[in-house]
């Protein structure tokens, strides 16, 4: 969920930032940086790229804050910039995004290793069929961009249909249909079948 909605406090900061108050914008950076990073990590799949994209997102937002109008919430406006930044970055780097979900962990000797997402068995093992996290990651990476983004925003990031629609600038019905097709395609890929979009 986009729990960083434009609240009463945000609105004052946003208004000041839009009037050229740099310190007000910096306050918004402090408030939203973790959420923006999280979205970048979901869309790009690794820590370093997510931090680069977060930085780029806020720079773009800073340059454009004067054009922000209160038609959408600030968080939605910011997440739309985030989403576009990540998609552009993935295209520029000409490689499939979201091939890993690594996490840095500090080791006892002070070094840093990269830990893959938890693959421990779930408590609820009533469903016999389950694909490994690596296989799912790889399969998501093969989805067309429009499907992949919707699936990541909804199923990994946990945004509502309405929020996904607002962030991507598409209709809610389109979100639902793309999501259904993305999931069906993902299952097909995981079963070793040709996906139908």
């Amino acid at each position: 969920m986009l729990d960083g909605r434009t609240g009463p406090d945000d609105a004052a900061w946003v208004a000041q930032a839009a009037n050229g108050d740099r310190e007000a914008f910096e306050e918004l950076v402090v408030r939203y940086a973790p959420k923006v990073f999280g979205l970048c990590f979901s869309l790009l799949g690794n820590h370093a790229d997510a931090e680069d994209a977060s930085q780029e997102t806020f720079l773009k937002a800073f340059r454009a804050i004067g054009t922000y109008r209160d038609q959408a919430s600030f968080s939605t406006w910011l997440y739309r910039i985030t989403s576009n930044t990540c998609i552009d970055m993935a295209r520029q780097r000409a490689r499939r995004p979201w091939v890993s979900m690594d996490a840095e962990i500090e080791e006892e000797d002070g070094g840093v290793a990269f830990q893959v997402a938890d693959e421990a068995p779930l408590q609820d093992e009533t469903i016999a069929a389950r694909w490994s996290a690596d296989k799912v990651r790889e399969a998501i990476g093969t989805l067309p961009e429009g499907f992949r983004t919707v699936l990541l925003l909804r199923d990994i990031e946990g945004l509502t249909y309405q929020e996904v629609a607002a962030v991507l600038g598409i209709r809610e019905g389109t979100v639902k249909s793309r999501l259904a097709r993305a999931r069906a395609a993902l299952v097909a890929i995981l079963r070793g079948m040709e996906p139908l979009y």
């Binding site: 402090v30 940086a33 973790p34 990073f37 990590f41 930085q55 806020f58 779930l122 389950r130």
Partner: protein
């Protein structure tokens, strides 16, 4: 798929792909039990939901670096400084003078033609084109950093005032830079080619956000930049830096150094405090980018 099936699937999706165990799920369970198609669909949906769960947990336990916010704020401040400096905008692009651009362009073409014609008449153009060919910036071949590979001067570049206000450098980088002796800006600017290349690199943002950064000015006016990155990001950074430097006139060289070789690299460069530079960022997770900028 009939109307009931569509309704069943919509409701399951609204429930995040899970039929509740409680009585509220009875109707959905009833439909699944009586419809082979929806039963198979739900099995796939549930399997996918469970398969995504570890990724959701991995995402939620991943947090940004502690200094990410500080780095972003530093970039914003640099951006604000740059945008408030009217000298960063060429005079012909400023709103006050832009309307005269077409006239200025026409005048420039007219003058250039006149100059060219007079040079041809004097035989100068022929000798210039014959004696000098323009080639792309060499990546390595013409760059022999004698003093660079032996030992940098040990004096770090002061990006705060000698260069371009430290644009593109992180707060962490500046911290390192301020800990070492600073060069007078006039000394640094004397090495025009490397200074220009470095300014270009810094203002482009191509260096991104290294975990650590240092710049050394060498005795011959060349510069050596040491940038520490996470291993999975370093190739992108090397590519971006290379692409940014390529149009510059001065030669450059880029090396990626594995984590285990960083210590020996520092030793070879005559830098004693590798540990301070690394600040615990060691192991296979980090690699060093060494960028040599020629004059």
């Amino acid at each position: 798929m009939d109307k009931d099936c569509g309704k069943f699937r919509d409701q399951v999706e609204d429930l995040q792909g899970r039929i509740p165990d409680e009585a509220s799920g009875d109707a959905l369970r009833g439909h699944a039990a009586s419809c082979a198609s929806c039963s198979a669909w739900y099995a796939d949906r549930a399997a996918l939901r469970d398969s995504l769960e570890p990724l959701v947990r991995g995402r939620r336990t991943t947090v940004p670096s502690e200094d990410l916010t500080a780095r972003i704020v530093a970039r914003i401040q640099q951006e604000a400084v740059a945008s408030s400096n009217p000298r960063t905008v060429p005079f012909f692009l400023r709103p006050s003078t832009r309307r005269y651009a077409p006239v200025a362009a026409a005048l420039a073409v007219f003058l250039a033609f006149g100059v060219f014609a007079s040079l041809v008449a004097g035989g100068l153009v022929t000798s210039l084109t014959a004696g000098h060919s323009i080639t792309p910036a060499s990546k390595d071949s013409s760059f022999a950093p004698q003093t660079m590979t032996g030992s940098p001067s040990g004096t770090a570049v002061d990006s705060q005032d000698a260069l371009t206000g430290g644009e593109g450098l992180t707060a962490a980088s500046r911290l390192v830079l301020t800990e070492v002796a600073q060069l007078p800006s006039v000394t640094l600017k004397a090495s025009t080619g490397s200074y220009t290349a470095y300014s270009t690199l810094v203002s482009s943002g191509a260096m991104g956000s290294p975990a650590a950064f240092r710049g050394y000015r060498n005795g011959d006016g060349t510069l050596t930049l040491l940038l520490l990155y996470a291993s999975n990001a370093i190739q992108n950074r090397a590519d971006a830096i290379s692409a940014t430097l390529a149009p510059c006139a001065s030669p450059f060289r880029i090396e990626i150094i594995d984590g285990r070789d960083i210590g020996s690299t520092f030793t070879a460069l005559g830098i004693a405090d590798a540990d301070a530079f690394l600040s615990g960022n060691t192991g296979d997770g980090f690699r060093l980018l060494k960028v040599d900028l020629g004059r």
